[in-house]
């Protein structure tokens, strides 16, 4: 067992968004996407802290883009999934799906 903990909720969601956005995922786009799809506005602090934590854990790889004027001459920090990140996401997802299987019907019944 090289890993004992699964992804946290926000970590999981963010990794999914990054996966979906391909090469164009950066802080603001991720946060906006989360807000639009999940319907929950995640605070800036939580978003960025989680992103940095995921980079530190080696699930995400960050690279700098080109500076642009509307960003006050600053570059975007783009994120992509690392192999480790893909693996973690896959495992977490699989674990959840396994747990889910058969439960949807139970929820319907109530």
């Amino acid at each position: 067992m090289n890993r004992t903990t699964y992804l946290g909720e926000l970590e999981h969601m963010i990794l999914l968004v990054v996966l979906g956005q391909g090469d164009d995922a950066y802080g603001m786009s991720i946060r906006e996407h989360l807000g639009a799809r999940v319907g929950r506005k995640i605070s800036r602090g939580a978003t960025y802290m989680t992103l940095e934590r995921l980079v530190r854990k080696g699930y995400l790889v960050a690279r700098m883009g080109d500076p642009s004027p509307e960003r006050g001459g600053r570059a975007r920090r783009y994120f992509t999934l690392s192999a480790k990140g893909r693996k973690a996401l896959r495992e977490s997802g699989r674990a959840l799906l396994q747990l889910w299987s058969g439960h949807e019907a139970l929820l319907e019944e109530r």
């Binding site: 602090g45 939580a46 960025y48 642009s68 004027p69 006050g72 600053r74 975007r76």
Partner: protein
């Protein structure tokens, strides 16, 4: 990460606070870059959607605040299990917790004695604020280098006569100098500025023209902001007619048109090509609107001194070497051209001294005053902190007894002092920021380079260090004295502080503060009184209801004197038919316009001018060319004789009218009417008959009797009619006349630029300076009074409170509280009075320095010397009475039980 390129179109930018917060809290540079950029991008989008700037700002600040707190406390809101490793990391550094605890304790301590805290904060912030302002002024104006590269190598050069008289340069001498001298990398000559008419912009304009020799741009070392400098090829006979524009002239006149080639510049009717624009704010001695090549047709007369010379010393050449060489060259020239020049030597002066002129002295005085103020503030802080230190003897002893180390006590006190000084520093900084903004808005013309004055790091560090050092030194006192004998202090209980040695120290402090404050109040009081004296004297003209129109007839149509005179007569007739006007006159310079057109008026027969000592030449008088109605239009009173009339024809014997100051200067104690004078150098070789004396129409800033002027009639001296100002007096509102007057001028002389201003507005501009000077002086006096009062209050309230037990006993034993009050009050007031006398003596001793700055008030002015100390005594009495009353009103039983 700090220097961020600006958004190109000046749209929304992340507020500095926000950037600052995030830079402080987010350690990782890449993460910070990404987050800052995201925030900026988001707000940029919102700004494009039309969110109001204030909301954007608030949103940015709030967001960055939230982010910053999140990043600064990485584990907040996380489960304890996750926090554990972080805690372990911190375990090795207990200091953070200690500092937090000390800070908390310090806040409690400060809150516990609000009186002390407010007094200390007030003193410290006033001290820091006041000194920062004063030092900012001195720093910005005196200490900061001039805006040229290597400014200390720049010197001005002057020709010197055998009499010691100093003259500007003649062109042939300049050519010899630059050819022969090796001490200078380059020398440049600049012709006196002159006003010219410029076409090619939206309207005809007047501009200040500076003709410069070819080395100009190399000597100053400043390159044009746009385009290029004037080349050597252009700057010689037959060269192309080119011009470099001053930045504001380019902005105002040509709308900042960057395509210089498209500008059709015409100066005095001749076409010029614009090749460059100087950087904003550039000026050398004079601010030029146009820089033209001088050497296309220089004035080659060896005894005609029309040029200012500025040189840049060659590397490694000392001042003395340069001076010695230049004197040798001058001697050689004198030998080579006998009779053509009378220059025997060369004087060198640092460029800085010519730019700063006479401002040095008042500013240095201000610096002295600021120094005193700082001293006062420091002694105040010292006394308040000292007072507290003894109060805390017991606390320190207890803390030592229960195991506090000396180090931790010192750390605690240090934190307290630091916190006090820190808060005061912020307050003081805000204070100085506000007052500097005030200074800048009120006194733009008062001192050169005022626009460049701001709070810079040097000033800040200075004021902060001075006060901080005081605060920390005296704040640490309790820790130094006590712990050595904790048991002794504890055992002694609280007995009240009546030791003689300490009392002496307190008295010295109070007395010293009183002395310093009296000196400051006397000095500023004298200045204010002197200013009042100047202002109370009539300025001898009536600005209300007067419209002035500055006109320029230097265009090609008006080259001939006849054309100008005819045009002027016509304009005068036209203006004379304006509705409601009562008089129309002409003058070349208005009373408040300082001008370089001054020269000595000498009674005939003239002394031998070649061998006259410098001290025998009377001060220069202003050369005023007027018509016969000027005095009536300006409201200048006739004191003796007559003014000009239409009967004074162009070919009649020339006449002159003197103002009172000039008359008293040239003919002291005599009746000048009918006497003959000459006005050099404007009308040499012609005797003028004095026909009248008029009142001294005077700039309020000048001391009465110091603005000497001689008036001649324009018809008799028509050569000086290129620049004239029409003065129109009306019964109604002069503003209403602007439009019809402008229309008439446009119709008669469309290419003559006219500047329309009411006299009241012109005077109002200079009145701003009056307010400024008064405000600065008065605020110094008030500030020193407040500081002294706060200091005295602090010390007295401390000493009295220390004696409250003793007072309680006395009261209990039957002493009348009034008697005790009187006793304490008179003793303290006696000390203040003693210090006051000392201060008066000091002010008397320093009076000599002030004397030259005062008008109509002696530095030993009894009123000031009595009133200022009395005011201080009153303030001091109040500062003593309040604490005395407070501590003697208490029920004796309460005081005694308080132990």
């Amino acid at each position: 990460m700090r220097s961020v390129p600006r958004s190109p179109n000046g749209e929304f930018r992340l507020p500095r606070v926000a950037r600052w917060l995030l830079c402080l809290s987010i350690r990782d540079a890449a993460a910070r870059e990404g987050i800052l950029g995201d925030l900026e991008e988001e707000l940029h989008g919102l700004s494009a959607q039309g969110l109001k700037p204030f909301r954007l700002w608030a949103r940015a600040v709030l967001a960055s605040l939230a982010l910053a707190t999140r990043f600064a406390t990485p584990n907040a809101g996380r489960p304890a299990a996750v926090q554990e490793p972080a805690r372990r990391r911190n375990a090795g550094r207990p200091k953070v917790d200690d500092i937090k605890r000390d800070a908390k304790y310090a806040v409690r301590q400060l809150a516990r004695s609000p009186g002390f805290t407010v007094a200390a904060l007030l003193t410290l912030s006033l001290g820091i604020g006041g000194t920062t302002v004063a030092f900012s002024l001195v720093n910005g104006i005196l200490l900061r280098p001039l805006p040229y590269p290597d400014p200390d190598r720049l010197v001005t050069l002057w020709e010197r006569r055998a009499t010691g008289q100093e003259l500007t340069l003649s062109f042939p001498n300049f050519e010899d100098w630059r050819e022969q001298s090796r001490s200078f990398a380059r020398i440049t000559a600049v012709r006196f500025p002159s006003e010219v008419t410029v076409l090619g912009g939206e309207e005809p304009m007047r501009g200040t023209m500076l003709a410069v020799s070819r080395e100009f741009f190399e000597v100053i070392g400043v390159q044009p902001f746009l385009g290029r400098p004037i080349s050597y090829e252009e700057n010689r006979a037959g060269g192309e007619q080119v011009a470099v524009l001053g930045h504001s002239f380019w902005q105002d006149g040509f709308g900042g048109n960057p395509d210089l080639g498209s500008i059709d510049l015409t100066i005095e009717g001749a076409p010029f090509t614009v090749v460059g624009v100087m950087p904003p704010g550039f000026k050398l001695l004079e601010e030029g609107d146009l820089y033209l090549p001088l050497e296309q047709q220089p004035f080659r007369v060896r005894d005609s001194h029309n040029y200012t010379a500025v040189g840049r010393l060659a590397p490694g050449v000392s001042w003395e070497q340069a001076e010695e060489e230049m004197n040798r060259i001058a001697a050689g020239i004198l030998e080579a051209y006998p009779g053509e020049t009378r220059t025997v030597g060369v004087n060198l002066r640092p460029l800085r001294s010519d730019i700063l002129g006479e401002v040095d002295r008042p500013l240095l005085l201000l610096l002295c005053a600021a120094g005193f103020l700082l001293l006062l503030a420091c002694s105040n802080v010292a006394s308040t902190l000292l007072a507290r230190s003894t109060l805390r003897d017991r606390e320190m002893a207890i803390r030592t007894a229960v195991g506090a180390s000396r180090g931790s006590l010192i750390q605690q006190l240090f934190t307290e002092s630091l916190m006090l000084a820190g808060i005061a520093g912020v307050l003081g900084l805000g204070l100085s920021h506000v007052s500097l903004a005030l200074v800048r808005s009120l006194g733009p013309d008062l001192v050169p380079r005022l626009e460049s004055v701001s709070i810079d790091a040097r000033v800040l560090v200075f004021a902060l260090l001075a006060t901080l050092l005081t605060a920390v030194l005296f704040g640490l006192l309790p820790a130094i004295g006590v712990p050595s004998d904790a048991a002794g202090t504890l055992g002694s209980g609280r007995r009240g502080d009546t030791r003689r040695s300490k009392a002496l120290g307190w008295n010295l402090l109070i007395g010293g503060e009183a002395a310093l404050a009296v000196m400051l109040v006397v000095a500023s009081g004298l200045m204010v009184r002197s200013l009042r004296e100047i202002l109370a004297t009539d300025t001898n003209f009536r600005p209300a209801g007067v419209l002035t129109i500055a006109m320029n007839f230097s265009g090609s149509r008006y080259q001939s004197v006849e054309a100008r005179v005819n045009q002027l007569s016509e304009i005068k007739r036209e203006f004379g038919s304006l509705p409601g006007m009562t008089a129309v006159g002409f003058v070349n310079h208005l009373p408040m316009q300082s001008t370089s057109m001054t020269g000595p008026i000498l009674a005939t027969p003239l002394p031998d001018l070649d061998n006259i000592g410098l001290d025998q030449v009377p001060p220069s008088s202003g050369w005023r060319v007027v018509d016969e109605d000027y005095f009536a239009a300006m409201g200048i009173p006739l004191l003796r004789g007559r003014t000009f009339t239409t009967a004074d024809g162009p070919d009649d014997p020339p006449v002159i009218v003197l103002n009172e100051a000039a008359a008293n200067l040239i003919f002291p104690g005599q009746d000048p009417i009918g006497k003959q004078v000459q006005f050099l150098p404007f009308w040499t070789g012609v005797d003028l008959t004095v026909v009248g004396v008029v009142g001294e129409a005077r700039d309020w800033r000048k001391a009465p009797g110091s603005q000497h002027e001689g008036f001649v009639l324009w018809r008799q001296r028509p050569g000086y009619t290129r620049y004239l100002t029409a003065v129109i007096r009306t019964e109604g509102d002069p503003v209403a006349l602007i439009r019809p007057a402008r229309e008439r001028l446009q119709r008669l002389a469309p290419e003559v630029p006219g500047t329309f201003q009411t006299m009241s507005a012109l005077v109002g501009e200079s009145l701003k300076e009056k307010e400024f000077t008064m405000a600065v002086l008065s605020s110094f006096a008030v500030l020193s009074l407040v500081l002294a009062a706060v200091g005295i209050y602090g010390v007295v309230s401390y000493t009295v409170s220390r004696r409250s037990r003793e007072i309680g006993i006395r009261l209990a034993l039957g002493a009348a509280s009034g008697a005790i009050r009187r006793h304490i009050f008179t003793r303290s007031l006696g000390v203040v009075a003693g210090g006051m006398m000392l201060g008066v003596a000091g002010a008397l001793a320093a009076g000599g320095v002030l004397e030259s700055l005062l008008y109509g008030v002696s530095p030993r002015d009894p009123v000031t010397l009595i009133v200022a100390p009395l005011v201080l005594l009153g303030t001091g009495a109040l500062a003593i009475w309040i604490p005395v009353l407070r501590y003697t009103r208490v029920d004796p039983v309460v005081t005694m039980r308080a132990e």
